[in-house]
């Protein structure tokens, strides 16, 4: 049953710590900050009695599940951790949704967090156990569609730059974002190249962060709050590594295409551009966001640059994307990012997004893509 979980589970509380280079915070500090905001939001003042299970997502945990259990003093119940590249937070959320939907638990916690800035390096670790598949730099991996896409559809670095400019603008309006600075297309084009065609501003930063959701069964949601948000769909899809996929065309990312199909089937969505009001998509690099517009069916393949130019995906556009500034301004603590996107969608649907509030948004999508990339996680949440 493709719609088995549609609208069965409600988000009744969410929290998110300030993302950034949180030098003076431990992972536990960030987890406590986000979880207690979520408890307060859900009206839970006795979490040790109310939370029946915990689903965590983290790519760089220092201890694992104990990090979360110890921080929140949630013992004597299941605490599990998943890893699914950049879709880790979304996958933790997915396990939480399924655990509630099947009736096993009434109330569960989803905790996404990561603390990459404790590693003393400015980028991902380079692994050198082998000789194949090097260099392992995400900017290099995610740029592999650029040459072919530009050649086929005539897009260029300026089109990518406008995405960075948009997200930087949105980020100035989000209290919990890391970067709060307007930039210009010229700034983006002049910045040092990281991995062509990505300059510094085409890349999201690494940052520390944690975000938490409280989930319950739809029938119990009213007991927490009136403006709860329903989970309409949640999906994960894997695709072949584009570095060995024999049929890859370098014009799209297959994980997104696969996950979108599942997500729209679950949610019963036929025309995503019309039926989705806002979207938080994985802008690890500007090109990732551009391809995502098309891979999610928001616009025709090859037409993204026209929509970028006309502002379709700007805050005031027809389908605002990355309303909080995205990974571009929050950075990307891998396990936290998917849950942070849900936090933004939850706040937007409740009308609590302050100066970046999108009017009359009732259906919101979130999207993560990760690995080389090989995995995509997506959710659709909606007002009842």
């Amino acid at each position: 049953m493709k719609d088995a979980i549609r609208d069965q589970v409600a988000i009744v509380g969410m929290g998110c710590c300030k993302f950034g280079e949180n030098w003076d915070q431990s992972p536990e500090d960030m987890i406590v900050e986000a979880a207690y905001e979520a408890y307060e939001d859900a009206g839970i003042d006795n979490p040790q009695e109310r939370i029946e299970a915990v689903f965590c997502g983290s790519v760089y945990p220092s201890k694992g599940t104990a990090e979360v259990a110890d921080a929140l003093k949630l013992f004597g119940r299941p605490v599990s951790m998943v890893q699914n590249y950049c879709a880790t937070g979304t996958d933790a959320f997915r396990y939480g949704v399924f655990a509630v939907a099947c009736g096993m638990y009434d109330t569960v916690l989803v905790v996404g967090f990561d603390k990459p800035k404790d590693r003393g390096v400015s980028g991902p670790n380079v692994q050198t156990a082998g000789v194949r598949g090097l260099p392992m730099t995400p900017a290099g991996w995610f740029s592999l569609c650029a040459a072919r896409y530009f050649d086929t559809y005539g897009a260029g670095r300026e089109d990518l730059a406008r995405i960075a400019v948009k997200n930087h603008h949105n980020g100035t309006l989000a209290p919990k974002s890391m970067l709060k600075r307007e930039i210009t297309v010229e700034d983006v084009l002049k910045a040092p190249i990281i991995s062509w065609p990505f300059g510094l501003y085409d890349c999201c930063a690494q940052s520390d962060g944690a975000a938490v959701a409280v989930l319950t069964r739809r029938e119990l949601a009213k007991g927490f709050r009136d403006d709860y948000v329903l989970v309409r769909a949640v999906a994960i899809a894997l695709a072949p590594n584009p570095q060995s996929d024999p049929t890859f065309d370098f014009l799209r990312w297959k994980p997104t295409v696969y996950a979108a199909k599942q997500t729209y089937e679950q949610a019963g969505i036929g025309n995503p551009f019309k039926e989705i009001d806002i979207a938080q998509v994985h802008d690890c690099f500007t090109l990732t966001e551009l391809l995502t517009y098309e891979d999610l069916g928001f616009c025709e393949k090859g037409s993204a640059k026209e929509h970028i130019a006309s502002g379709t995906f700007a805050l005031a556009g027809e389908l605002p994307v990355n309303t909080d500034g995205g990974l571009k301004t929050f950075g990307h603590p891998t396990g936290a990012t998917g849950v942070r996107m849900l936090y933004e969608n939850y706040k937007q649907l409740q009308g609590k997004a302050g100066p970046r509030q999108v009017k009359n948004a009732t259906v919101a999508l979130s999207h993560n893509i990760g690995g080389a990339p090989q995995t995509c996680g997506m959710t659709i949440v909606a007002m009842p």
Binding site: G123, A129, G130, P135, A147, S195, S244, F250
Partner: protein, 475 residues
């Protein structure tokens, strides 16, 4: 006596693309250094990778399964203990049931390995033996030796049939002399005073050995179309030519000082290939090499030499050049410059992973699905296309050409020569690989660019040369 049919069936050479101007070594002071340049290995090359390249040139069109041995000669192989010939054989995807041996320690190692191959084939212990000499020696920074040296490799297939060159006589002498040396703990070659080394080492041994081979063969210097012999420098080389009574204008194969440099154990073999590129059937050549004594050979060129005109050899490689004008970059290529990011740091590769993956990573084989024909790299258990399980043939990719499907220029991945050019390549037949491109400039990159594969050091983590394949534009 020497067999009439045993000899050189094929040859191949390799000279790295980069040339270091001698003036750059002298710090821009043209006076001391003069003009000229030397061949210098890229940061991802060493004597093993250059040997593989020369051997690949040599084995063009030859059934690799017919080889019975690989003899590797070098004074500059990275390992003190662990064989190089076996790495070369694996990178060439040769059968396992072959003899492999390293010849080292002497500048004469290349010709000595050649003579051993000759003996083995003559004795019937193997029908085809690959001899590959390769050197990448280091002189101390800004020293005369650094200016003098060059990097390169040469390969010969010694066979019992189809000889392009037969060996009608050979003669060797051994000598104990402290002229040039390098201890286990030395990074750089050391040398005794020039005039002593040249007069009592090089000249005396080479002349003695040539006289020996002429006596055995009943020939005089006038009987040779060309004399091809090692020399530590242009002046000493010319002095030997004079001492032997050879005609400097017509009989001497140009030792290419100021273009190539003294390529150590590979030098005399490389010069012989340069001579064979111009040689015609029926010509007689004198070939000699020096190092702790000397090896000499009387060679007879056959009509079969015409069969080898498609070899890249020396002339193709010498014509393919790019200047490395930045001496600091050269120092960092050779790990002679302290760096924030030590390329040799870290735990290095997992020997067990290397062991499991060597057919893919060293022999560069991919899989072809027996059911649907889909080519894939690395090896799969389940086919990407038709999902057949464990139904694949292994296919060598290294000798195929490929084309660029996509690329990026990565300034973030550490490289001594940024940016790192990273490509997605589809080999002829379909296997796709994510490879670094080497010996290329970002300006050359475009979709569908034809490439070939080249065996290189992918990194040096753990202090070991960790080899894999890269691509380079077809030129």
């Amino acid at each position: 006596m020497v067999s009439e049919t045993v000899g050189i069936r094929s040859y191949g050479a390799y000279v790295p693309m980069l040339r270091l101007p001698l003036a750059a070594i002298a710090g821009g002071r043209r006076g001391g250094a003069g003009g000229g340049e030397r061949a210098v290995a890229n940061f991802d090359e060493d004597s093993v990778t250059m040997a593989v390249a020369a051997a690949t040139d040599c084995l063009r069109g030859i059934d690799r399964s017919s080889l019975g041995g690989v003899l590797f000669a070098s004074t500059s192989y990275p390992y003190k203990e662990k064989q190089a010939a076996s790495v070369v054989a694996k990178a060439l995807d040769l059968p396992r049931d072959i003899v492999t041996a390293d010849f080292s320690g002497s500048l004469r190692a290349g010709t000595t390995a050649f003579r051993s191959a000759l003996d083995a084939v003559k004795a019937g212990s193997a029908r085809n033996v690959l001899v590959v000499a390769s050197d990448c020696r280091m002189g101390a920074p800004r020293s005369a030796l650094e200016r003098n040296f060059g990097d390169g490799a040469a390969a010969f297939l010694v066979s019992d049939a189809d000889a392009a060159v037969t060996v009608s006589q050979h003669h060797s002498v051994a000598d104990e002399i402290i002229d040039v040396w390098r201890l286990e703990t030395d990074a750089f070659v050391r040398s005794w005073e020039d005039r002593f080394v040249v007069e009592h080492g090089y000249q005396r041994n080479l002349v003695d050995a040539v006289h020996g081979v002429l006596r055995k063969a009943g020939l005089t210097p006038k009987d040779f179309a060309k004399a091809v012999f090692y020399g530590p420098d242009a002046r000493s080389h010319a002095a030997v030519a004079r001492a032997l009574g050879l005609d400097a204008k017509t009989q001497i194969e140009d030792p290419m000082f100021g273009r190539l440099g003294n390529c150590g154990a590979a030098f005399a073999p490389m010069l012989l290939i340069a001579a064979l590129e111009k040689a015609r059937g029926g010509q007689r050549l004198l070939w000699a090499s020096y190092g702790d004594g000397a090896d000499t050979f009387v060679l007879q060129v056959t009509e079969q030499v015409e069969r080898l005109r498609d070899r890249r050899g020396m002339s193709w490689h010498l014509a393919r050049r790019a200047e490395l004008g930045d001496y600091d970059k050269y120092l960092s290529f050779r790990n002679l410059q302290p760096s924030e990011f030590d390329r040799r740091a870290g735990a290095g590769v997992s020997a067990t992973v290397h062991y499991r993956d060597r057919d893919e990573d060293i022999s560069f084989r991919g899989h072809r699905c027996r059911r649907c024909g889909t080519m894939q790299f690395p090896f799969q258990r389940v086919c990407f296309s038709c999902h057949a399980k464990d139904d694949f043939d292994q296919v060598r990719l290294s000798d195929r050409e490929g084309k660029v499907l996509s690329f990026t220029f990565d300034f973030f991945a550490g490289s001594p020569d940024p940016p790192l050019i990273v490509t997605m390549i589809e080999a002829e037949g379909g296997a796709r690989t994510y490879l670094q491109m080497t010996d290329a400039s970002p300006k050359e990159l475009k979709l569908e660019l034809p490439v070939e594969f080249t065996f290189r050091k992918i990194h040096e983590y753990g202090g070991t040369p960790n080899y894999f394949w890269k691509c380079t534009p077809v030129r």
